[in-house]
Symmetry: C2
Subunit: 279 residues, 2 copies
């Protein structure tokens, strides 16, 4: 950039990519007990949250990620009533999950309360369902919580975590997946953000293998655009106890309001596996 002060840049030697957004000003910066959190006001992308120098979300394009981490798994489960979100402190996933009328209770478990407090201030639209009586916000360790959860008590687990470095690393492990497997009911489904199909294939393969070792017989990856993440192309990996996933509830998809990306055709399209990822 010709004037570094006007752009926020996330760059990586490993991927050889830099991604920059033009900013107006830094709105906030703090070192929480777990990570460095920065908030910027950008020129064209609304507000921007950065954790440990990695872009987490912008106002403009987070709808892609939040809709795609939530609705595909929710419509694949036959009747998701009890949902747990691990991570997801910005509350965007929580908002999407609460759009589902089947849901009776959602626990959002993010270890860092500061992410949620800052999201309430700088991304209020993502937090508009935080007062829903079905929602419970916990600021504790997600792995410990999962290990203590009653066996078979959860329908859907959504792991909406940071990258597999720092506090999020332990969420990409067979140990954690085993705890999820036990906590899920027979029809239970787990979904986790799984990085870029182009840049992180080895991570995706390891995740799938770890999920299978933890007992999940069905594993499926879906992908979607996410401009502010490296390569602009992101994925989520879904795991179920049976080799075959149940038929998605297409009729219910038609009832969903306020979608900006997701619909039934997008659901099907996201499941398409590029040739280079084919098993």
């Amino acid at each position: 950039m010709s004037d570094n002060s006007q752009w926020f840049t996330e760059s990586s030697e490993e991927t050889g990519i830099g991604f920059s957004l033009k900013i107006r000003r830094k709105l906030h910066e703090e070192q929480s007990a777990y990570q460095k959190i920065e908030i910027y006001e950008t020129e064209r992308w609304g507000n921007l949250m950065v954790i440990d120098d990695c872009i987490m979300l912008s106002s403009r394009d987070n709808f892609l990620y939040h809709e795609m981490i939530s609705h595909p798994v929710m419509f694949t489960h036959p009747n998701p009533q009890r949902v747990v979100i691990i991570g997801g402190g910005d509350c965007g996933t929580l908002r999407e999950v609460l759009r589902h009328p089947t849901v009776k209770r959602v626990s959002q478990i993010d270890i860092d309360e500061r992410v949620t407090r800052l999201s309430e201030r700088y991304f209020p639209e993502l937090c508009e369902s935080n007062e829903d009586p079905r929602a419970e916000l916990l600021f504790i360790d997600g792995i410990e919580w999962m290990q203590r959860a009653d066996a078979g008590s959860i329908d859907v687990i959504i792991v909406d975590s940071t990258d597999p470095i720092g506090p999020g690393e332990v969420l990409f492990s067979e140990t954690f997946y085993r705890a999820c497997f036990t906590a899920l009911g027979t029809d239970g489904l787990l979904v986790q953000q799984s990085e870029s199909p182009l840049l992180h294939q080895s991570l995706m393969q390891r995740m799938s293998a770890d999920m299978r070792r933890a007992g999940f017989d069905g594993v499926r990856t879906l992908s979607f655009p996410q401009p502010v993440y490296p390569s602009g192309w992101w994925s989520a990996t879904m795991a179920g106890k049976s080799a075959d996933f149940p038929k998605a509830r297409y009729a219910a998809m038609q009832e969903l309001q306020a979608m900006r990306y997701f619909n039934a055709a997008i659901f099907d399209g996201a499941m398409a596996i590029p040739e280079f990822m084919a098993p």
Copy 2:
């Protein structure tokens, strides 16, 4: 970037985005009769071609664009024998089109011969079919050529152009689409790269409207990931003379060799229209 000399950056005030690739060295720079062409060797993305400061392609990810600008339209036409590529001087689209056994003749018409000569040197894998006896490489004005083409003589026109500024601008016009309409046979199809679904919605809407005004009753947009283009998410718009497109030739898709992204499921998925783009 902390060290500007090691990164090539394309940035835009209009989109508020900067995208950078880490480079080892500049391999070539020239001002052709039409545009400035630069070639870089990157750290992680192979070689990089830049025209008038805009990234055109990298060795690593151009397969996404080249497969998706070519195969969806080729498999939608019932029997594509005569194909014309307008632009496409890097020859990657030509290579993909020539994979189709139905093809009898392909004319690639790019006004700037220097793009092809540099591609032969720095992207030889894209040029490996240039000597195919079915291929004709012309370095002349594509619009004039199209206006003189025999009526009804072409099955598929692929407009693989630069952005709608500079030499590529005239290719985004009703006048040009009218010439294409006349040159195409009854089953003829036109496809053109149509920028980012997230960033360039008004352009896409204008293109579709211009195509319809030029006589095309069927217009359909498809999208795909393209990491080195702004937002990492790109599109192509396909136009046909009838309101309904023919059923795609799915069986023939299974025969296609050497694909890295495209397959039948990707074809269907690319046609899914995000909610925010729904008419």
